[in-house]
Symmetry: C2
Subunit: 185 residues, 2 copies
Amino acid sequence: MREVLIITEPEKVKVLSEETRFRILQLLRQRPMTIWELSRAVGKDRTTVYRHVKVLEKAGLVEEIGTEGNEKLYGRTARLFLIKAEPDESVESFRQLYLQVEAERLVGILEKSGIRAKNREKLKKLIKEVLNEIEVNSQPIIKKVSESGVELDEVELFHLLNTLVFLQSCELCEKAKKMRELIEI
Amino acid sequence: MREVLIITEPEKVKVLSEETRFRILQLLRQRPMTIWELSRAVGKDRTTVYRHVKVLEKAGLVEEIGTEGNEKLYGRTARLFLIKAEPDESVESFRQLYLQVEAERLVGILEKSGIRAKNREKLKKLIKEVLNEIEVNSQPIIKKVSESGVELDEVELFHLLNTLVFLQSCELCEKAKKMRELIEI
């Protein structure tokens, strides 16, 4: 299992964006499971789950990693999947959805840490815009890294993503000013 | 075990910066180990390793997580330690060292991905300066998050760190221009 897998191709993002498959990947984060276990956990019959697992396997997101009794054990191909979708019509609604979820989580972290937003909704909207802008503008480098097959660990991924944000500093300056006005540090 | 632990306090960073202790933490990333196993792996006697483990335990970086035979098993308290040291004389040389290592790794990732630097040494120096600037200027928020005890997972940590870089966009713009000139995208 790799530490990090960056997913940019719309076809793969599409595979991920289906609800049951997304759930299966989440479950496999805890530990490898058999079709039987997955089937019970997601509440769908084994044939359906098997089909989803095969789709995930074909997309390189899941792999057989052994057996338990007579059943095959499936695991994730990476501990961390980083979804950095190329903007593409077929995944646009999923992209918007996860940017929304991520903006929400981020505002939540700031709040739990005692950093208050003057206007929560405005802050969330701004963060979503920024995440979108960064994702779209980072594509050339992200794709190069992803296609090169370089194995990154989590710390290297941090640095890489931070660098991508940093590289867009000039373009992001105005939005950064706005965000600073919206939070009390 | 938590996913992420952010370490800002100079005393804890100092604990981490000692070579054998750093090695012990790296070894425990793979799996929990006994003093005996650690002692063999680092090539030091058990008493020395025991003392180091106790220092790590006191700093909250290592914990007892069970026993193997008659021996205690020690594990990390988090899968990922993020060192964001407050600038402090006592850890300054370690800070400079890890910024150096991180800058080196980042240039390496870019190169392996086919992104060439026109002047490798200049790029490394620039990245190190940027990492330093970001780390120092992020302290107020990083400390708040770290002290609040919020449990972050890796993805949340990504977003948080990216946001901290983003917030400094206006200040970083000039350096971003320089870096863009140094790499071929």
